[in-house]
């Protein structure tokens, strides 16, 4: 397992490619990355941050002049998606933090994405302009006004080439449909609807209609004191437009079929793993809460992330996951202190690689984990500036789990719990990954041996 090849069939190693964001030690809160998402082709990569900004990176075309630069990602467009707001009726501050970004399938030369904060979802169009109109009737080239009585001929403006300009414009604003905080948005495979989920409800929207959405799941009890679980994530099936899943804070996942009824308060499948009574503790319920759920590209499986593990479920088997991967089992003995510093409530996300053969999710100390589903091999890597020479190979990391600490191992006690990797994304076709570490975005690529 030299260097570890988690990814495609070939054995390869992960190399550093790029790092984005400031190097400063003291990080501005607004710069902390809160979501990362590749578009369908992988040519664009979007990040959202706590300051309400969306930054889009575009992959450079491979150039013959610089054979070594294998498609680096450079800033394509930056825009302020959400602003801080204040709900005067409820005396509530609404943060500008971008909770999720989802790309729409490409429909014409422009690109579209949905971005959301706690309350409002926005549809953005990112388009290019490379022509500019020239020639006015009432003023000359320098902008001086002409004498209106001296106009003897009419000039029709002519389009001239100009430097490429990328514009981001808000196309639709989907507001006022969520009482609680939005945790997920997911575009449906019918290309015309999407769902948005908050703690207690899931709404279905038409992408062209902003003043109306349909409530498809509502788990709010009549009496809020009876509340025992909340919705933590929701996603549409990648191919079947009638199927979606949502996960709960109790560690269960419900699959609903929108064909069956207009209101999906009765699920068609219920995924739950029976609890092991021997490992039951005060923290059992907290750590079993699902922080993310993702369908595989094939649509056959889904993956869920809870505090200590990642589970892969076959949609045809509800009683237990087909695969379970421990992300940082060594933290099980530390749950008490992780509860005290609130880390136990961190919401780690997870993602599939393009062929569904590997999965990735984050951990603490700027570590992230990858699991190869075929070989069952796993690897821990670190997003760090220390080894940030172009094409430098990433060294696998190891956390010492009791006993004597070997060379190159890190003891659990020296892990930095402030450096957490919550958001990662995997290029849909290639072995390129984007890893958000606080305010930095790392991009790693494979190097085939």
């Amino acid at each position: 397992f030299a260097g570890g090849g988690v990814g495609g069939g070939n054995d390869f190693q992960w190399c550093f490619s790029q790092v984005k964001g400031a190097i400063d030690e003291d990080v501005a809160e607004a710069d902390i990355i809160s979501t990362v998402e590749f578009n369908y082709s992988g040519e664009l990569l979007a990040t959202g941050d706590k300051g309400g900004r969306v930054v889009i990176f575009q992959r450079e075309q491979e150039s013959k002049n610089r054979p070594l630069s294998r498609g680096e990602y450079n800033v394509y467009s930056t825009f302020q998606s959400h602003e801080p707001e204040f709900d005067y009726l409820k005396s509530l501050e609404i943060e500008e933090k971008i909770n999720k970004i989802r790309w729409l399938p490409q429909q014409n030369a422009a690109h579209f994405l949905l971005s959301t904060n706690d309350k409002t979802i926005k549809l953005w169009k990112i388009s290019e302009r490379d022509k500019r109109a020239e020639g006015y009737n009432l003023k000359d080239e320098d902008g001086r006004l002409r004498d209106p009585f001296r106009i003897t001929t009419l000039r029709v403006p002519v389009l001239m080439p100009m430097d490429l300009m990328v514009e981001a414009s808000p196309r639709r604003i989907f507001a006022n449909a969520h009482t609680y905080h939005i945790n997920s948005i997911s575009v449906n495979s019918d290309h015309e609807t999407y769902l948005s989920a908050d703690d207690l409800r899931i709404n279905l929207w038409h992408l062209e209609i902003t003043d109306r959405s349909f409530n498809i799941v509502d788990i709010k009890p009549a009496n809020m004191e009876e509340l025992t679980e909340v919705i933590t994530a929701a996603e549409c099936h990648p191919h079947q437009c009638n199927v979606f899943v949502y996960s709960s804070s109790k560690g269960t996942i419900r699959l609903c079929d929108m064909r069956a009824a207009a209101l999906c308060d009765r699920h068609s499948k219920f995924f739950e793993e029976p609890e092991d009574p021997s490992s039951r503790s005060f923290f059992s319920e907290i750590i079993s809460s699902i922080s993310d759920v993702k369908f595989s590209h094939s649509g056959r499986y889904m993956m869920t992330r809870d505090y200590l593990s990642v589970k892969v479920w076959d949609l045809n088997m509800e009683n237990r996951p087909v695969e379970t991967y421990q992300v940082h089992e060594y933290l099980r003995s530390k749950l008490c202190s992780l509860y005290e510093n609130d880390c136990i409530f961190d919401k780690f996300e997870c993602c599939w690689n393009g062929s569904d053969s590997a999965i990735m999710t984050g951990s603490y100390n700027n570590f992230f984990r990858m699991f190869d589903r075929n070989t069952r091999r796993d690897i821990t890597l670190e997003a760090s500036r220390e080894n940030s020479k172009p094409r430098a190979m990433l060294k696998p990391r190891k956390v010492c789990t009791g006993g004597k600490r070997k060379k190159d191992e890190i003891s659990v006690d020296s892990l930095d719990f402030n450096k957490k990797i919550l958001h990662t994304a995997w290029h849909p076709k290639e072995n390129v990954i984007a890893v958000a570490a606080t305010n930095n975005l790392y991009i790693f690529q494979d190097k085939i041996n």
Binding site: P105, Q106, Q107, N108, A109, A110, F112, K125, S127, R129, K131, A133, Y136, N137, L138, K139, P148, F149, R150, I151, T152, T153, L154, R155, V156, P157, V158, L159, E167, S189, D190, H191, E192, E208, H239, Q240, C241, N242, M258, R259, A260, A261, A262
Partner: protein
Amino acid sequence: MAGAEGDDSLYPIAVLIDELRNEDVQLRLNSIKKLSTIALALGVERTRTELLPFLTDTIYDEDEVLLALAEQLGSFTVLVGGPEYVHCLLPPLESLATVEETVVRDKAVESLRKISQEHSPVDLEVHFEPLVKRLACGDWFTSRTSACGLFSVCYPRVSSTVKAEIRQHFRTLCSDDTPMVRRAAASKLGEFAKVLELDYVKSDIIPLFTALASDEQDSVRLLAVEACVSIATLLPQEDLEALVMPTLRQAAEDKSWRVRYMVADKFSELQKAVGPEITKNDLVPAFQNLLKDCEAEVRAAAANKVKEFCENLPEDSRETIIMTHVLPCVKELVSDTNQHVKSALASVIMGLSTILGKDNTVEHLLPLFLAQLKDECPEVRLNIISNLDCVNEVIGIRQLSQSLLPAIVELAEDAKWRVRLAIIEYMPLLAGQLGVEFFDEKLNSLCMAWLVDHVYAIREAATCNLMKLVEKFGAEWAQNTIVPKVLSMSNDPNYLHRMTTLFCINALSEVCGQEITTKHMLPVVLKMASDQVANVRFNVAKCLQKIGPVLDSSALQAEVKPVLEILATDQDMDVKYFAQEAISVLTLA
């Protein structure tokens, strides 16, 4: 035409052209809307060589500007030099047909369809048809969806080889990868079928129809239901059973409620398209199933169609089918668990009485009406009340009045003001049907009670209601029954009620006529001019302005003018303002 000599008539056109690029969307929009003026000034040649190329690349603009542009280009043929040059309009419309905004794309397609008629058969094949092909083979699905709407306009006018190509393109789009395109194709399937030769309908369209109707995405399948209507109309009766009915049966029992909903929603059209025999054998059981569907949305859609479905049943067996097949389901729906279903039914159920006649109505329908009049949901009761006229014709409303009255009273006092508002709006209708005696006896007091409702919208509607009642029952009735009550409110301690008197007078003066207005209303209004509340005083001024035209000039001069003059010197700004306005409008100065 563009003149050579210094000519200030060019100035407004120059402004319009420059404003095509103004920063202000509104100005750009104005310019686009006057595009024909610009084109006229430029002349046909410059329009073709300069204006259109510029517009072709102007697709970066706001949707509303693009929408206006797409619309303008549809009637631009004359401005580019007539049908001979109409193909010059294709490039800008082609680029508009690929934008992401559906409304813009649809408008561009609409304009393309329009100008396709102005192409000569040769131009259609040389210019138009290649455009359709380009769109149909475009990389982005926006262009492919637009193509779907263009096949049917070229098909009838091209050679048979091109026809074959067009059919092929349509086939390809029906199995496109993206559901967007398949939906566009499915929604144009019926329209395309209409222009195809019958043989090709059978050999091409039917397989496509069958495939779309069993698409994996229910959003596509439900559109096939619509196509089903047009296709069924095209085929001879003997082919329907084999070619259409299997698909229709399957749709009526689809796993997805949205597809079944569509079947229910289109039921009357389907019924007409397939004819009486198939209706009797197939649609009646299908309709029963839809009325008993497990999804409330489907039941509601089917319930909405009950009357139309029954109306369109073949006459010879209509009554039997209704009595034995439909009515049992309807009876169950009356006590449905879902209020939308019940209220959908309530909005059409009364219509059955005309179809079934007096005896059946009394025996079978009346109990249902009465049950719905007592329904817990106000919307159900309202829907019954709003359709009373159908029953009135058949059995007379008196049969119902015993139950009607409590229902009305209850709605009139409902805690939700919107419900009260809705019932007020039906009062004039009810009054007309129940007659003046019944009204005076039972409903008059309700109408007066609304005048002092604590919600303004109700008081306002009650005022308007009085006017409509007077229109029905006449001025004399007004003088005896409502005017005294209205006027007595002018002494109410609550200023809002005093104002209601004024609002009522505003509404009633015209229908009551000069005599009543001068004799009874005017003195009260004038007396209120010294009210201590300023809002009342300025409403006096407004009221006088309103009723002025009804009064004769002596009353105006002798009574209205002095009062307005006093009000015009009132301490309160608003009172002054409205008094002065009244003086000038009534020309009393």
